[in-house]
């Protein structure tokens, strides 16, 4: 119940494409859902986050779609660029235990020029 399942494990798109990464969770106590981007040799960097009272959030080329009833959320990257090639992690945090982030397994994205 504490797991966050992420798919796909890896993804290859052409420049300009729209990669979509999906995550699913079981614990309805989760109420904060961030996405992190990680480059080799670096720590994860926060991209965008959403709370379950909204169904969509956009920041620049990054969009989170959230389906509370299905307990699923996804990241869309518009007009993807080779510089977006990285590993992406979804995460979730329960409201009363907000020091703890539970991460998905990660998706390695390659954007081809």
């Amino acid at each position: 119940q504490q797991q966050v399942k992420q798919s796909p494990q890896s993804l290859i798109v052409q420049k300009g494409g729209i990669p979509i990464i999906n995550c699913a969770y079981e614990n309805t106590a989760f109420d904060y859902f961030p996405w992190y981007q990680q480059f080799p040799g670096k720590g994860p960097a926060l991209l965008i986050a959403i709370r379950p009272d909204v169904s969509e959030k956009k920041e620049g080329r990054f969009t989170i779609s959230f389906n509370k009833s299905a307990k699923q959320f996804s990241l869309h990257i518009m007009d993807s660029q080779p510089g977006d090639s990285a590993t992406y992690f979804c995460a979730a945090s329960p409201a009363r235990d907000t020091g703890k982030l539970i991460f998905g397994q990660g998706t390695t994205l390659q954007v081809k020029p």
Binding site: Y32, K42, G43, P44, A91, T98, G99, L101, G106
Partner: protein, 113 residues
């Protein structure tokens, strides 16, 4: 502004030894969390400290311990090292106990031989 700084960046230890990892949070941040990231997986929560008190603990053995100092810097200690402790250890800081977006450091790469 300096981000989250961790030291050392790389470390090689022998099985059975003890190791201490250090973290300095962003200035003004009072919350520090530690995560373990095994190659190819998402980070796993180890500890959160806020205002020098332990506020959360993940599913790690008692060989793992941590503390936070009055200046909000933190140390993670691991005793009786096992080969399976080889991982990237990440420190993250935020301004409060409520998670509105952690900033991660680049981590300490620990190799146990």
């Amino acid at each position: 502004d300096a981000g989250v700084t961790q030291s050392p960046t790389h470390l090689i230890k022998t099985r059975g030894q003890q190791v201490t990892l250090r973290c300095s949070p962003i200035s003004g941040h009072k919350s520090v969390s530690w995560y373990q990231q095994v190659l190819g997986q998402g980070p796993q929560f180890i500890f959160q400290y806020y205002e020098k008190e332990e506020r959360g603990r993940g599913n790690f053995p008692d060989r793992f311990s941590a503390r936070q100092f009055p200046n909000y810097s933190s140390e993670l200690n691991v005793n009786a090292l096992l080969l399976g402790d080889s991982a990237l250890y990440l420190c993250a800081s935020s301004s409060g106990r409520i998670n509105y977006g952690y900033t991660f450091g680049s981590g300490t790469r620990l190799t146990v031989v």
